[in-house]
């Protein structure tokens, strides 16, 4: 195409000397090859036919478009032929009217676009009704949208079947996030984040506890204290103190008695606060099974995004780990002993109690131990961490999300202690996060792979330990490389959260299905799907805009 345009320019440039060569012009634009000729002829015929058609449907618009097109053509020709170079002429020529076929195509596409806009406009605006009271089938205009369904079903779309008593709490959660977001962005734009150090820490801290606040508001705290009891108190204390020691060992925190006391007190204090919130009955529990609509979409998407990222990072590092594997001389005897033990103990007992044909095969399962040992040694040199990460990633990636969602709900009870139950929402969030983390791991691994070996070697030769090497050298660079991929995955997680409708959770699209089966709004699919589409688009656009910004921000000093 460019070649054609260029040589045409040359020919046309020659034209002010009155030497325009029509033979060359035709050759470039029409007769150059037989398929070009066919293309131009077919295009011209289609355009003429469509123009005549549009003349009948909407004469005024069509005539305006035709006039504009002819004027544009005039500019472009003047530009080429008579040395009359104008900005608009040059722009038209390079972008729309560069050759005969481009000129025709431009006209055709503008006409089609005009028809489409006209159709959408008449459906969405001219013939539409906006009154929420007039949504019943008998009031509808068949040629126009019934937008009244959106305000009419607003609460259903936003929160689903959530108890309306709890609405103020949803608004509080939303308000908290919006206010925090506005302050953060404002402070960032105004440059206060860099100037006032504590502000940054405070904002980060508030963001860090946001999930807890949102949980308290949207799920509530029961007076009994839920899962917080003396056992979890002890375990939590151990984890917190362990974390402190780990950070101290990594020299991220200073060791002092005061510090230790503060850390050690953190968990019990949190526990007391939690109990106090529960006792105060300010935020009585809400049945999470009633969550729905956009709120549920956002809860699932954000949870999955927050959980899958660190999990994916661990899996990616695990898959690449080069720890010393279990040596063969140890693995083989252990595997052999286990297999023999199984064959002598488990196999006879299964064979003794045969229920069906498959049991004959199943009975010899201990042989599998040898198989696994073989794979572990052969493929991973006995590196258990790499083997486990790789297996997890590949198994998860080998299963469709829907299967995993069903599995999460059906299997959850098997992992819980007797009598405990797990709400489907949590099961779905866990299952979905595991799914997402496998893909996240592969994305991050791509970034790790892209780093030159020299970066690892320089870090090693300086004496940095593995944690420091990852924290300061490898991850900052690797993650920057994969920001587009990671954000792409976040956007995917956001949109695919609509799949949870299949396991009976009514997120945004699930609610749309419920709403259109309501007699009052029966069949108002188009309006609702357009609305849902706009919401998904806004969410995705914001994420991709932020990703580009982040990329630019982190690109400092990059070659």
């Amino acid at each position: 195409m460019t070649a054609i345009t260029e040589s045409m320019t040359q020919k046309l440039n020659a034209a002010f000397e009155g030497r325009i060569n029509w033979r060359y012009f035709l050759q470039d634009n029409v007769t150059g090859s037989w398929y070009l000729a066919v293309w131009v002829v077919v295009l011209a015929a289609a355009t003429v036919a469509y123009t005549i058609n549009q003349m009948n449907v909407a004469p005024l618009t069509t005539i305006i478009i035709l006039i504009l097109w002819l004027v544009g053509l005039g500019f472009a020709i003047a530009n080429g032929l008579f040395k009359k170079r104008t900005a608009i002429g040059s722009w038209l020529k390079t972008n729309l009217l560069g050759s005969v076929s481009n000129a025709i195509l431009s006209l055709l596409l503008v006409l089609i676009l005009a028809a489409a806009v006209r159709g959408i406009w008449s459906w969405a605006v001219t013939n539409a009704t906006f009154d929420p009271e007039l949504t019943k089938p008998e009031f509808r205009n068949p040629d126009g949208a019934t937008w009244g369904v959106i305000p009419g079903a607003w609460e259903l779309l936003m929160v689903g079947r959530l108890d309306r008593e709890a609405l103020p709490r949803v608004q509080m959660a939303l308000g908290y996030i919006v206010v925090l977001g506005v302050i953060s962005i404002g402070a960032n734009v105004a440059g206060y984040l860099k100037k006032i150090r504590p502000l940054r820490s405070i904002l980060l801290g508030l963001w860090a506890i946001t999930p807890i606040i949102v949980y308290i508001l949207l799920a509530g705290v029961s007076a009994e204290g839920d899962f917080i009891n003396s056992k979890t108190l002890l375990i939590g204390e151990a984890v917190v103190v362990g974390l402190f020691l780990l950070l101290w060992w990594q020299r991220t925190v200073k060791f002092s008695v005061v510090n230790l006391v503060i850390w050690a007190a953190a968990w019990p204090v949190a526990y007391l606060i939690w109990r106090a919130i529960g006792k105060s009955e300010m935020f009585p529990p809400i049945n999470v099974a009633t969550w729905g609509g956009l709120m549920l979409t956002i809860i699932i998407a954000v949870s999955v995004i927050i959980l899958s990222f660190p999990l994916g990072m661990v899996l990616a590092l695990g898959r690449r780990s080069e720890i010393r594997g279990i040596p063969g001389w140890l693995l083989w005897p252990v595997a052999a002993i286990l297999a023999l033990w199984g064959l002598f103990v488990s196999t006879p007992s299964i064979l003794g109690d045969i229920r069906n044909q498959a049991d004959y095969v199943l009975a010899f399962w201990p042989i599998l131990i040898l198989g696994f040992a073989y794979l572990l040694q052969k493929m991973f040199q006995g590196n258990v961490v790499a083997a486990a990460s790789t297996t997890f990633i590949e198994v998860i990636r080998g299963a469709p999300l829907i299967t995993l969602l069903f599995m999460a709900i059906i299997m959850a009870p098997f992992f819980l202690s007797e009598g405990a139950t797990l709400e489907n929402v949590w099961a779905v969030i866990i299952g979905y996060s595991l799914f997402s983390s496998a893909y996240m791991a592969e994305n991050i691994r791509g970034g790790l792979q892209a780093l030159p070996k020299g970066q690892f070697e320089a870090a090693d030769s300086l004496g940095l330990n593995t944690f420091q090497k990852m924290r300061f050298i490898i991850l900052p660079q690797a993650l920057r490389i994969v920001i587009p991929a990671i954000v792409g995955q976040f956007i995917g997680s956001f949109k695919s959260s609509s799949l949870v409708a299949i396991v009976g959770l009514f997120e945004l699209l699930g609610m749309v299905a419920v709403i259109v089966s309501n007699p009052q709004w029966l069949g108002l699919r188009k309006e609702l799907f357009v609305f849902a589409g706009v919401i998904y688009f806004i969410g995705s656009a914001v994420m991709s805009w932020y990703s580009r910004r982040l990329e630019a921000q982190l690109g400092v000093g990059e070659r």
């Binding site: 020299r251 010393r324 030159p452 020299g454 970066q455 070697e457 320089a458 870090a459 090693d460 030769s461 300086l462 004496g463 940095l464 330990n465 420091q468 300061f472 050298i473 900052p476 660079q477 920057r480 982190l554 400092v556 000093g557 990059e558 070659r559």
Partner: protein, 252 residues
Amino acid sequence: MTMNVNANEDVIVCKDVHLWYGEFEALRGVSLTVKRGDVIVILGPSGSGKSTFIRSINRLEEHGAGEIVVKGIPLTHDVRDIAEIRREVGMVFQQFNLFPHLTVMENITLAPINVRKWSREKAEETAMKWLTRVGIPEQAHKYPGQLSGGQQQRVAIARTLAMEPEVLLFDEPTSALDPEMVKEVLDVMSDLAKEGYTILAVTHEMGFARGVADRIVFMDYGEILESDHPDEFFDNPKHPRLKLFLSQILHH
């Protein structure tokens, strides 16, 4: 520098070091003893195992048999020993391997702060001292990508020196540089040699080898074939392959 207190002490002792890449034996019994303050240049044809050898001294490659002892610490699988040795042995690479996402200052202070556990002030002070030494104190707050090759390599040297290692390993530090930048890097290396650092350098810079080295080691096919004082090495080569090598590199 007060490094010569215990001159004549063996800083690096390699005994019959073998190293395999899969089936391929890249080092076939390398033995070398380096005393404190020695400057040793390693020469040899491409693929002879020079890089492999000096990289095995700080465990960037893992030797399969034989013994490497650095400052009395035997190099084993023990990560604490490896960490200890890496604190004492600095390395400068052909491709600089600066961290592109950190400023020059951050590049230099990262390891002293996190490995040596110095305060930021002390680390930055030391970093400035070294940057001044290699002649580019004004570049401290730039990113590596904004520097010339020669400047980058000098930053890399400053980064290595800031850890205060006793032994310096150079793997063809000037090979990726344009000719006019080679000298600025070689000058820094000569100064370091004079100051008493123990240096093992792989380089093709014959002038540096002849003028600065205490000893030149010739490697081929993963073995040390000759090891001698520079004058003797160049003027009176004994091993036929060294003669061939010298005739190839010196006669054009």
